[in-house]
């Protein structure tokens, strides 16, 4: 089997908004980055530490993906750092809003390419790349966090069954 799809269960997801960083200047976001223990990535990039992943979604806008934690600790731990960072900031737990999928294997990029218009070749979507884009007409966040041929996909819960069925169908010829 050259491609495998799995459901990454119960991840903690938080959407982070920092109006102070909209122009790309992360100078005053130190308290938030210190609380997360990672560097917030720039356009089209991801960064990670341990099991925690940050994905750039737009100017001043990130998705945080962390280990399962029912206590809401990630969101709560950002309240004070956000206050120290400036006005119009937010961290909202969106764990229930998305299903997290992982497509792995030598043919993973080819399967995705059946329904995704961005160039997934290593030269333009290498390790540490991310994109908020469309996959099979569904709105997704797509990332390739590290060197392996593994793509992580965040999709709205209501679109997840459709997208999983589409991925399984697209992968048939690669089994």
């Amino acid at each position: 089997m050259t491609v495998e799809l799995c459901d990454v269960a119960r991840r903690t997801l938080v959407e982070l908004r920092l109006s102070t960083a909209e122009d790309g200047d992360l100078g005053n976001t130190g308290p938030v980055q210190a609380a997360l223990d990672l560097t917030l990535p720039g356009p089209g990039r991801t960064s990670q530490v341990g099991g925690r992943l940050a994905v750039w979604l737009g100017p001043g806008w990130w998705l945080l993906d962390d280990r399962p934690d029912e206590s809401g600790g990630l969101e709560a731990g950002l309240v004070h750092p956000l206050r120290a960072t400036g006005p119009r900031t937010s961290a909202v737990d969106v764990s229930a809003g998305f299903v997290v999928l992982e497509l792995t294997g030598p043919s993973a990029a080819e399967v995705l390419a059946h329904g995704c218009s961005i160039d997934l070749h290593r030269r333009s979507f290498g390790p540490g790349s991310s994109a908020r884009t469309m996959l099979a007409k569904a709105q997704v966040v797509l990332a390739r966090p590290d060197d392996g041929p593994t793509y992580r996909i965040w999709v709205r819960t209501s679109f997840s069954r459709y997208l999983v069925e589409w991925l399984l169908d697209a992968a048939v010829e690669y089994r």
Binding site: P43, W61, S117
Partner: protein, 91 residues
């Protein structure tokens, strides 16, 4: 058609939402504008053949509005820039 988002780079046209003519300024003194003036502000737009500055929303990507200068005959896009920036001189 690929549209160059100022933040995300070139993306497929289907990721974007069209927003009509750019740089249409809100009236300085709204209370002084008569019905004909409001109608012109709200509904009357240029219909130029050639370079045209227009608004686009990167709906499926960074969800930001920006402006682009597009050629209405060839669909070539000469510039894309954040809202608030002045229109670049093309040609």
């Amino acid at each position: 058609m690929l549209i160059p988002c100022p933040w995300c780079g070139e993306r497929e046209e289907t990721e974007f939402h069209y927003g009509g003519q750019a740089h249409v300024a809100y009236p300085d003194d709204p209370s002084a504008v008569d019905d004909a003036g409001w109608a012109a502000y709200l509904f009357v737009r240029d219909n130029s053949k050639g370079w045209f500055a227009e608004r686009w929303l990167h709906r499926a990507g960074c969800q930001r509005w920006f402006n682009a200068v597009r050629h209405t005959v060839t669909y070539e896009i000469a510039a894309a820039y954040p809202p608030g920036a002045t229109r670049p001189v093309i040609g």
